[in-house]
Amino acid sequence: MTSKKIHNDWELVEMARQGDMNAFAEIVSRYEGKIARTVIGMLGETAEADDVGQETFIRFFKSIHSFRGDSSLGTYLTRIAINLSYNVLKKGKRTGSLVQIWNEEEKEMDIVDESQDHEEKEKGEMIDKAIQSLEPGFRAVVNLRLVQGYTTKETAEILGLPLGTVLSRLSRAQMQLQGKLKHLI
């Protein structure tokens, strides 16, 4: 039986710097979920979200030699993902509403998997819609603080904003979300 050594992030980065593509693939695999939560949280389940997710890792690959480890790898990648998402939103590449490109696949899966809780799914969609209706600046704060569970201070650091601005955006976003999700809260 062969045992695979589990490397920490920094070891993987060092290995990837030496040209070990398997190590980089491990980084992608390890942070795929986090980046998905960031990017899909910002853009919705769109074709751009998948592209931005890939681009996040490509950017990191290109700049891997300049990664000093001042912040954790997850935070560093999240920062890239947020900035790229902002760029997409600024360029207006999005259609505005939550366009789910693999909606059809999911619908098919629903038919097969009859045990799936439709009520839960509807609730999730409602929450997504409410988040997507927020302005990008508010959406980023909500995504990092409430969806991903970063602290307010970490959120401020990732977004490069003063703590007061993050708190203010959180309070305002809370009011807007309450209005939209009042039957859930």
Binding site: M21, D50, G53, S168, L184
Partner: protein, 138 residues
């Protein structure tokens, strides 16, 4: 003290990130303002609701990403291996277009026309020339 500030502090208090002084101020304010207590409950409920959200990329994300990286690596390696190729192509194509232009221009000067006939040198031929050629070639 502005009311809005207490609402913002509520977020910090949920993370235990308030200083003792601010914590005490917030506790006192909460006794005076029932809205603050309501807001705290809403923050907790909202945090609970949103933290349940999970998003995923389509299956095969790692492969798609690694394929894109691999193709970009190959491109950059080619560029490193043959750094003069792209500029050389540029100059070759410019020189080619210039030579073609000179050729066409000199042809025009010598023949006075750019027609197909003048290109094949048959512009001075008449139908009679062709018939007599075909009739008497043997």
């Amino acid at each position: 003290m502005k009311r809005g500030k207490f609402y913002r502090w509520l977020w910090m208090s949920e993370e235990n990130a308030l200083t003792e002084t601010r914590k005490k101020k917030l506790d006192r304010a909460m006794k005076k303002m029932p809205d603050l207590e309501k807001s705290r409950r809403e923050i907790r409920k909202l945090s609970e609701l949103l933290s349940e959200r999970d998003y995923h990329f389509r299956p095969g994300f790692v492969d798609r990403t690694m394929n894109r990286i691999a193709s970009q690596v190959i491109q950059s390696q080619n560029a490193e291996l043959f750094p003069g190729i792209a500029p050389a192509f540029k100059w070759i194509s410019i020189a080619g277009v210039a030579a073609l232009f000179i050729l066409v221009f000199s042809f025009y000067l010598s023949q006075g026309s750019l027609s197909i006939e003048s290109f094949f040198g048959t512009n001075s031929f008449s139908d009679d020339n062709l018939i007599s050629y075909l009739l008497y070639q043997n």
